[in-house]
């Protein structure tokens, strides 16, 4: 499994041609208590950079951009009843949706774990 990151604080974990996408721990700390996640419907075709989801806390709302192009295969429906999972475990159980990658080459330009950590260190 490969995990890559974006400067908008999304992560994508790739197994084969499936990418699982969510927001990073840094992002959930910035947002505060998550109250609602608006997830994409299965079957939706996304281009890299499209707004795929919206994550809401009480006082803020943030667009979540897909790090990679592909067709949405499933969404983490459990978040509807337990949005707090995004705060508790953003990079595992708090995943948002999965896509079937249409252009795996896009991953090359994304940040690896080290590069992402260096990036968020530079922000703080």
């Amino acid at each position: 499994m490969t995990v890559k990151y974006t400067k908008d604080h999304e992560w994508v974990a790739v197994t084969g041609t499936t990418g699982r996408i969510g927001i990073t721990d840094y992002a959930q700390r910035q947002l505060g208590d998550i109250v609602f996640v608006d997830l994409p419907a299965a079957g939706r075709v996304l281009k890299q950079g499209d707004t795929a989801a919206v994550v809401e806390s009480v006082k803020a709302a943030s667009d979540v951009y897909t790090p990679v192009s592909g067709k949405v295969t499933k969404a983490n429906d459990m978040l509807a009843d337990a949005p707090e999972t995004v705060n508790e475990d953003p990079e595992e159980d708090g995943w948002f949706f999965e896509v079937e990658l249409s252009n795996p080459g896009e991953l090359d330009a994304l940040l690896d774990a080290g590069a992402y950590k260096a990036y968020i260190d530079s922000l703080e």
Partner: protein, 448 residues
């Protein structure tokens, strides 16, 4: 100047603390050409007594519904408001408080909003209601926009018997989004079935209950037709007291109910401020515009209330908000809540029954006059008469006899000759049997 506490000494001391020579220095960023050299060309300040006289003189020129026998409706209804209501809404803590963004010191406002939301949901038979909108017409416009968001479609079917001002608001907003709006001509004798007009591109079907002429009808079949086509049924209620006597729109299958709450607590006020009601299904709550008050607990586990689901709104979502709305109708929603609390279920149903009874008596007397036909066989407290001549002229003649006889077709639909002989008449508990008899006698005289 009685509202300005600072004295000359105060101003001098404050300028010294700031380090400015004069207040003009604080306006240094204003372009020189835009700095006015002296007061604008408007009168000097006045004391209370003089202001009362000036504005009182304007009020005295109006032949208002307290000194005329008034049978005016068409979207605004004259109901008696108990003295306690106005007394309570003028308490400083209600009148001069702000939006409850700091809930710890706004539980008064937040609790009554929660009560208001519950009352509106109960009256309309819907699952959830918001904390009010500006008025019924803008609530109607917002309902159509919400239906467009929910369905992703851009065509709207409006009943021909929807209040024309409400329809015009929908059209103004629709023009911004190239919304296709289908609306048959007004049908004073009763509208045909709108179901055939609904298609797969329809976002919303908007009907009024009772309609602008006063007809009441069951929209259950229309609701099913709309939902079968994937469209939302929006029901508009302009006379909120009618919900004390009628099957609620929620029970008919409405998806959104909007209304005008002015009839309870608010008064006529020559058209504003009024009170928009908005209720919908729980599943659509995140698409609902306007403020919402929710229940929660505080740090000590005590029940309390807060504004919630704010991420729908402009101050957070900005260009992606459900609407640009910032205010609700605050004090008007409080007046409504208090009036309805005083009435209670027994009082509201009694009030509604009384309204209907007075209206039935009036309709029977008026329809018996030669030259007058009743166009609305089934109604709540408002009905339409077809006269044998121009209704607006009849209305003017009756003004001379101290009667505000109703709203003539030409006022609501200017330029539509087919409606000019129609008169929309509302009767409430504020019309006595003597007034109703007087109206019938005067109308007979004018038409003789």
């Amino acid at each position: 100047m009685r509202y300005l506490p600072l004295t000359g000494d105060d101003r001098a001391a404050m300028l010294a603390a700031i380090g400015a020579a004069s207040v003009d220095d604080l306006f240094a960023d204003v372009p020189v050409a835009a700095r006015l050299p002296g007061p604008v060309d408007l009168p000097h300040h006045l004391g209370e007594w003089e202001v009362e006289n000036s504005i009182g003189a304007m009020a005295a020129k109006n032949r208002h519904s307290g000194i005329m026998a008034s049978f005016l409706g068409a979207g605004a209804y004259r109901h008696h408001v108990p003295a306690s209501v106005d007394h309570l809404i003028q308490r400083s803590e209600f009148l001069t408080s702000y939006t409850p963004y700091q809930p710890e010191i706004a539980q008064g406002t937040l609790q009554y909003l929660f009560e208001f939301q519950t009352q509106v949901a109960l009256l309309t038979g819907m699952e959830v209601a918001n904390a009010s909108m500006y008025d019924g017409s803008t609530a109607c416009g917002e309902a159509v926009e919400m239906a467009r968001r929910v369905t992703g479609r851009n065509r709207v079917v409006l009943s021909g018997n929807l209040h024309p001002h409400y329809a015009e608001v929908v059209k103004t907003l629709g023009a911004l989004h190239d919304t296709a709006i289908e609306q048959p001509a007004p049908a004073p004798a009763g509208e045909g079935d709108l179901a055939p007009v609904i298609d797969q591109a329809t976002a919303a079907v908007v009907v009024q209950y009772p309609d602008v002429f006063g007809h009441i009808r069951d929209y259950s079949a229309l609701a099913r037709a709309a939902q079968a086509a994937g469209a939302l049924l929006v029901v508009v209620v302009t006379e909120v007291v009618s919900l004390g006597a009628l099957v609620p729109p929620g029970a008919m299958g409405a998806d959104i109910v909007v209304g005008e709450g002015q009839g309870l607590g608010v008064g006529l006020n020559y058209g504003g401020p009024y009170l928009g009601l908005f209720a919908t299904r729980q599943k659509y709550v995140r698409q609902m515009p306007g403020r919402l008050c929710g229940e929660t607990v505080d740090a000590e586990g005590r029940r309390g209330f807060v504004l919630t689901l704010s991420t729908r709104e402009q101050h957070i979502r900005r260009e992606k908000a459900t609407s640009n709305i910032c205010t609700n109708s605050g004090l008007c929603s409080l007046a409504f809540t208090i009036h309805l609390s005083l009435l209670g279920e027994a009082g509201l149903t009694h009030l509604a029954a009384l309204n209907h009874a007075r209206a039935v008596e009036a309709a029977e007397r008026l329809a018996a006059i030669p030259g007058v036909t009743l166009a609305t066989p089934a109604f709540f407290n408002e009905f339409t008469l077809k006269l044998d001549r121009d209704a607006a002229a009849v209305v003017e003649a009756l003004v001379g006899k101290g009667i505000l006889a109703g709203v003539p077709g030409a006022r609501l639909w200017p330029g539509q000759a087919a409606l000019a002989d129609h008169l929309v008449v509302a009767v409430t508990e504020t019309n006595t049997p003597a007034e109703i008899q007087g109206f019938a006698a005067a109308l007979a005289e004018v038409l003789a």
